[in-house]
Symmetry: C2
Subunit: 413 residues, 2 copies
């Protein structure tokens, strides 16, 4: 039999999810920038515009394997040309074409001075070592990639704030960019609280549980190509205080799990306030993750440490990472924007809840329409439906939803 | 002025994109499996079912900070109970409740024997150190997470083939799973051909271009959390042959760029055939990437090496990685399936082309409907629109498309 949950979301005065996200965006101060080699800048954000120092293509070149030709006019079938040499891709040549002449040329090779068009080899008959004949009609300027036709010297290649995806890295590489100025990636420390969490198999004892939160957060950062330090701390005020104080000197972000509710052993919030953190919010009208806490500390050098206190239930940690941590980390890299919500069609009814919910759902496309349906086992201490889920969907508070209603969500990977 | 391209897709006898993908899926032999620690198995695929050795929750526990209570019936407001102790999360207790008794308890703590319900602390008046009063109606079995309510001992946690996402890792961690049997990740070597490609800034000379392909492929694997070895090779038959021969002994996959077309310096295919590779296909009716080549070598020990020869144009490499390399790497890990295409609505007309096209597009959601529009600069030697593109869209061959038509695509990151 499932347990019954008391309606603990009926509390008044809690902020909404959008208000919480806005407070994160308002209060985050972008980090400094740094210069990186382009091949070390994957998944960062540009801190400066990038302009091209070269033309792309760098020189006019053949788009095919064939023959560069100099002809006064359009070429009729059976026209013959004198073959005066060969230009291989990547090799320079002093050859110049005069009317009636041709050179053997390959894809990407620089076309010689005097070229008026290129004949791909499928339309050429090689008559002998010095003469070729064209077998089809051929216009001027065919299969030539003209210098600068994609990008010209001085042109903007990428805006400030550009996300350096695989494609962006490739595109900048092609323009010869070697270094880029990007926002520094935040230094993040993770603090796992809760005496019930076994930090290792040796630590296991009655009343303890296997820890999902540290593996979850480590995998999340690993997926983003980043490393984090993870600390386990006992549920005593002194231990929590000593650790938070130390980390707040050296890190941009402290992520904590657990210890932010109203229990007698919930020390994260009182300790942070005691250490001089300013509370930006505590408690969000959401499920899971109501007691979420966000605070900032301004250090003597005016730099800041942010503390995002995620509730200890693993589903609250999961949602917190996908929605809030990602928003905070982007904002610290100069990108002040909400998560990139999709819109989708709900395939079934949903009962009312007094809090906004993030439900783990399955999404699939049907003729361009994204349809989502909820999975079972949504409680905050349950994670097993993440085997099937491919999205988190926001269900607004305060009203039942009917089939066909439009909802927002995020793909998860 | 843009160059005019000759209609080099009109060739007959080429296979389609779906046929090429099917040939990859048909011919790949899944790799061996290996046992990994769970925290090293992110983004792998399970090679065995995983069953739970424990119940989840592991024991019946409180869902809130409050009081575990033993009552014979539903509790009326003002009912009083005798407080006999406290149980903190993660601590074991020998306490047992009798009718009329209560213990202070915290979220996640094991409820004592005799508990009939839990009262969250917001509905409790502490009268003195030994007595509490409940302020609201309270049913039996409220705010208790029952042992095994999510997962019971012996239950299937994850199917063979399960992708180990962040959520899957977290979920298995919670069930105490320490090690998993997964498919080995393929050992991949990358060979960049083409004398026109400068492998470093020092290598730059007239007729050469900056290399986009090696950075593209390296970033692509880095994004997948994998490392690859990249080799540059000169356009001579001997150099290509020596390198491919060496790599085919030691690697599961050789990815090559360039050298697969019909030019005199295109040595990949003849060399591979010469070394005993069996051609599975050559030339796909697609744009970009027509001369794509796929072959397999069966080694004396019956294991295989696969060679995927991508054309040298960077857009062909990009498409090749997203569509074909990803499919091949998944299949080698036991997952024989096409890419996970979305469906979307085309927002404009598109002209006919004799080959299927992969166009770099921008996609956004509108009331649940995914709408895509094409970007400029789609030619195979151009990459700059990858700054804006967030998807690759498949445009079928042979017919013009009208606005509103449904197309398939893939999100790119």
């Amino acid at each position: 039999m499932n347990s019954i949950m008391s309606g603990c979301g009926a509390e008044h005065g809690l902020i909404t999810v959008d208000q919480a996200l806005d407070l994160i965006l308002q209060h985050t101060q972008g980090l400094a920038t740094e210069s990186l080699e382009l091949n070390g800048a994957l998944n960062r954000y540009l801190a400066q515009e990038v302009y091209s120092a070269i033309n792309l293509p760098l020189f006019s070149q053949s788009a095919v394997d064939g023959y560069a030709i100099c002809a006064q006019s359009a070429i009729e079938p059976h026209s013959e040309f004198k073959l005066i040499g060969e230009i291989q891709a990547g090799h320079s040549s002093e050859l110049q074409l005069k009317a009636g002449q041709a050179v053997r040329i390959f894809t990407g090779a620089k076309i010689p001075f005097g070229t008026t068009t290129v004949a791909r080899q499928e339309m050429v008959n090689v008559l002998d070592s010095t003469r070729i004949a064209i077998t089809e009609h051929l216009h001027a300027n065919v299969d030539i990639r003209n210098v600068g036709e994609e990008i010209s010297v001085g042109q903007l290649l990428a805006h400030k704030g550009q996300f350096l995806s695989v494609g962006a890295i490739a595109s900048l590489s092609m323009a010869g960019i070697q270094n880029v100025e990007v926002f520094r990636y935040p230094q993040v420390a993770v603090v796992i609280t809760g005496d019930e969490v076994a930090s290792s198999i040796e630590d296991f004892a009655a009343g303890k549980i296997f820890d999902a939160n540290a593996p979850l957060i480590q995998a999340w950062f690993q997926n983003a190509g980043q490393q984090v330090e993870v600390f386990h701390v006992a549920d005593t005020e002194d231990a929590v205080k000593a650790l938070i104080q130390e980390l707040s000197d050296s890190h941009d972000v402290i992520l904590t799990t657990g210890g932010v509710s109203v229990g007698d052993y919930d020390f994260i919030r009182p300790v942070a306030l005691d250490l001089g953190f300013e509370q930006l919010f505590w408690k969000v009208k959401q499920k899971p993750g109501k007691p979420m806490f966000f605070a900032e500390l301004t250090r003597p050098d005016r730099t800041r440490c942010y503390l995002l206190g995620l509730p200890g239930n693993p589903a609250a940690v999961y949602v917190g990472m996908q929605i809030y941590t990602s928003t905070l980390l982007r904002a610290l890299q100069g990108q002040k924007q909400q998560p990139d919500w999709f819109s989708a069609v709900l395939t079934h009814e949903l009962k009312m809840d007094s809090r906004e919910r993030f439900l783990r759902m399955s999404a699939s496309f049907d003729q361009g329409l994204l349809k989502v349906w909820s999975l079972s086992k949504q409680q905050s201490h349950m994670l097993s439906n993440l085997m099937q889920a491919n999205c988190l969907v926001r269900i607004p508070a305060g009203a039942a939803l009917s089939k066909g209603q439009i909802v927002q969500g995020l793909f998860i990977h």
